[in-house]
Every structure is written in C-alpha cells, then in structure tokens.
C-alpha cells in the first residue's frame, strides 16, 4: 500500500472503534484523519486548546483564524459546542472526562507504554498536551504505521525513546495488525494485512501471540 493509503486504513479502523456519544480527542497526523470516517456516528471531538464539539475544516468563506485546533489548523464548531479556557480543558482531559484519545506514537512497548513526544538526537522542546492525554483519557488508542521509515518496528520490547508516561494504552491500530494491551502484555487482535502470526513476529523481531478474542474474519 502507498503510505497515504495505509494511513487511511488505520484511521478507518479506529473510527469503527468509537462509540456514539463519546468525547474523543484526536491527535495530530493519522488521528486527525479518523474524523473523516465517522459517517453518521455522533462523537464529540475535543481539542485541548479549548473546544468541545469541533467541526470540519472551514471553507474559505467561513475561515476564522482564531478558531483553531491543537495542531493550529483552522476548524469550525458544531451547534452542540462549548468553548473553555486551557485550565478547564485540561481539567476535562486529566480528570478522566475524555472517553477516547487517539494518539500518534514513535514507539509502544509490549506492555503498552508509549513514546510520542521526544525524537532522539533532536533538541526536545515540545510536549504540548501529549502527556496529559496519555495520562487522563479513559481509553487511549494509538495510531501509527507499524514500521518507521528506516524499517524498524515501532512495537518494541522496551522503549528506546523517552516515555510519555506510565499509563498503558489500550489499543494500537497499525497497518499490519491491531494490537491490544492487557496485564499480560501485547496480543494480536486482528490482522490488517494478509500475513501470518509467524511472519508478523519475524518482522517485529519477537514472538507475538493472538488475543483470546482474535478475529480471523477481519
């Protein structure tokens, strides 16, 4: 698959995971694409700079550059929306009132701990709301291609990049497979490609197991 196609497949699969009525925060990158696959499902998008009820990007006509999302892109708002300040916005996030956060990652380890803010060998001068979202959301889904551009697996035995927090994520939707994280660690929930468990294990570099609820029909 082309890179953009992979991204869309991941976004679409995550959209299926969201439930009617949920409060959802979508991170920058693939997570942002999830909103395009929600169809009729009413989920309420929160953006940490102070809006619940974010709508699609504006047309040129109704562009308002003060009305932006956390990625600083212009957005619109829905009629159910509300605006609030940054302290209250992070109160919503950290206090456990966001049902699902969908986040990009650099790495996720086999226990579900993620690294998504600090690129190695580069000055680390940005964290934004990444750590608050990992810590506070009721459910965290990570969205990423399974392999970095240099071919290394983002699913790792131990993080080599800096951790975003001690909170374990719930789900990792990649272009090859969907992984769940329980007390027993990572398990394969679904294959997204026509690939065997052995082949996938070889690719990531360690043995993977199916989850009890593995769905082979997907």
């Amino acid at each position: 698959m082309l890179s953009q196609d992979k991204r869309l497949v991941i976004a679409k699969r995550i959209a299926e995971e969201l439930k009617e009525g949920q409060i959802v925060n979508l991170g920058i990158g693939i997570p942002t694409l999830v909103s395009e696959y929600l169809d009729d499902k009413e989920v309420f998008l929160q953006t940490e700079n102070g809006l619940l009820g974010m709508g699609p990007p504006p047309t040129e006509e109704n562009l308002d550059i003060e009305l932006i999302n956390a990625g600083k892109e212009p957005v619109t708002y829905l009629k159910s929306a509300s605006f609030f300040n940054s302290a209250d916005s992070f109160g919503l996030i950290r206090g456990g009132h966001v049902d699902v956060a969908v986040l990009g990652i650099l790495q996720v380890d086999i226990k579900g701990e993620i690294a998504n803010w600090a690129v190695p060998d580069q000055p680390i001068l940005g964290v934004g709301g990444a750590m608050d979202l990992v810590t506070g959301a009721k459910k965290v889904i990570v969205a990423a291609t399974l392999f970095a551009k240099d071919g290394t697996s983002k699913l790792v035995k131990e993080l080599t990049y800096k951790t975003s927090g001690i909170r374990k994520v719930d789900l990792f939707v990649s272009d090859y497979a969907v992984f769940t994280f329980t007390d027993e660690g990572v398990k394969v929930l679904e294959m997204m490609e026509d690939i065997t468990l052995d082949e996938l294990s070889k690719k990531v570099g360690f043995n993977l197991e199916y989850a009890a609820e593995f769905n082979s029909s997907k």
């Binding site: 040129e60 308002d64 009305l67 302290a87 964290v127 709301g129 810590t135 506070g136």
Partner: protein, 228 residues
C-alpha cells in the same frame, strides 16, 4: 473609572528582568499589539511564560528575535527553529511543562494556591527532580504555582472597567494569565461601555484587569494584519 489607555502608554509598565505571562495558543489569542509596543522599548532579560514562542515569525517570535527573551516557560517550542538553536547554544533557557500543567500552574498562581499534585508526566523525563507523592494509591508529581510581573492578554471585547469576553479558541490561556500577573494589560478588538456585557457571560471580571488597549490587528483571511 476608565482603564482604557493608548497602547504606547504601556511601554513604561515593563522593566528589565520581568516575568511576562502571555496569553495565546499559536497566534490565536496572542496580544500582538502589546508585543509590538514591547519591541519599541529597550527592556531586556525577560522571562516569558507562554504556551509557545509565537508562530510564523509573529508575536513572541519577534520579541525573541530582538534578543529580549532570556528564558521561556511553556509547553511547545519545537516549531520555533531559532529558539531551538539558541537553546542548543545555551543562549536561551527553557522550562518545558506539559500544557495542562502549565495552565494549572498559572491558575494556581492567580488563585493563592502554592502548588499542586498532577498525574501528568509521572515517570517521564519532565518529572526528573520533582517531588513524587502517592495519593489514594496513585502517583502524582508536585508542581509549583506560576505568577508574573506583568500579564499581557488578548480578549474580544472589554468594557471600560476591564470586564472581558473572549472569542472561540482565542480564549485559551488568557483568562488564567489575567489572574496571575501583578500588572494586567488586556488588548481587545472592541471596547464597549459598562453595562453592554452580560454579567452572566463575562469570563474575566474587571478586578483582574489594570489596563485596556485597542488592538491594532485585524484578521484578514489567514493572517493577522496590522490595520489601525
């Protein structure tokens, strides 16, 4: 009482070494006119508390390029290439905080709270050197409140007493910054008479605001343009 002054009058309110709390996320809700006035002064060695250091070469970015900023406290500086370089060379101090921790620390500074315990960043590099405490079985780290000498903020409307309302996501950090500055200057798009703002909907009560100035910037398409 009338807190509205000419923008040039604010220059005298700053001094070398001040800690300046600045509202805004990206450029949305950033007091661009106040920053321009600061550029006209010879004030230096500023510590700036702000989510980011401007964007697209505007706002605090200009203040930084003029060499007025000694230290920045905020959550996201990565996109400011010049700031990153200055930091690498040891010419700029940076305190990096998670965005929610930053917002809460400023709120505490304005509300007489000395510090607080947050779950965010526990176990990460940003928790290094910070006190950890277990409360009801969960791990938290201690963060101190943040206050400033001057807070510079941007609102949509002010009445002449300094009551403020905001516009959409341009609200962001502004209401907290307004509570935590010794001197508080609000730049606004529109100044109205007392009584024109609904008491139920005022976000920042006038008690927090010392001076109000008319913004010289307007939104034109995808840009903030100096127009007045």
């Amino acid at each position: 009482m009338d807190k509205v002054i000419e923008s040039s009058e604010i220059r005298k309110l700053f001094k070398n070494g001040d800690q300046i709390l600045t509202g805004g996320f990206g450029l949305s809700g950033t007091p661009l006119t106040i920053i321009d006035e600061l550029l006209e002064t010879d004030i230096k060695d500023l510590t700036v508390v702000s989510n980011n250091l401007g964007d697209l070469g505007q706002g605090l970015h200009k203040l930084f390029m003029q060499g007025k900023i000694k230290k920045a406290i905020g959550s996201f500086f990565s996109i400011n290439r010049e700031a990153v370089i200055a930091w690498s060379k040891g010419e700029l101090e940076i305190d990096l905080l998670p965005q929610g921790t930053l917002a809460e620390a400023i709120r505490c500074g304005g509300a007489g709270i000395g510090g607080f315990y947050t779950k965010t960043a526990v176990g990460t590099e940003l928790a290094e050197g910070k006190e950890e405490r277990v409360i009801d079985g969960e791990r938290y780290i201690f963060e101190k409140a943040i206050k400033g000498d001057v807070a510079i903020i941007k609102a949509a409307k002010a009445d002449r007493l300094g009551n403020l309302v905001y516009h959409t996501t341009a609200r962001n950090f502004n209401p907290m910054m307004a509570t935590a500055g010794n001197i508080v200057i609000a730049e606004v798009d529109e100044i109205v008479e007392v009584g024109e703002l609904d008491p139920e909907y005022i976000v920042t009560p006038h008690a927090y605001v010392d001076y109000v100035i008319q913004s010289k910037y307007s939104k034109v398409g995808s840009e903030y343009v100096e127009s007045r």
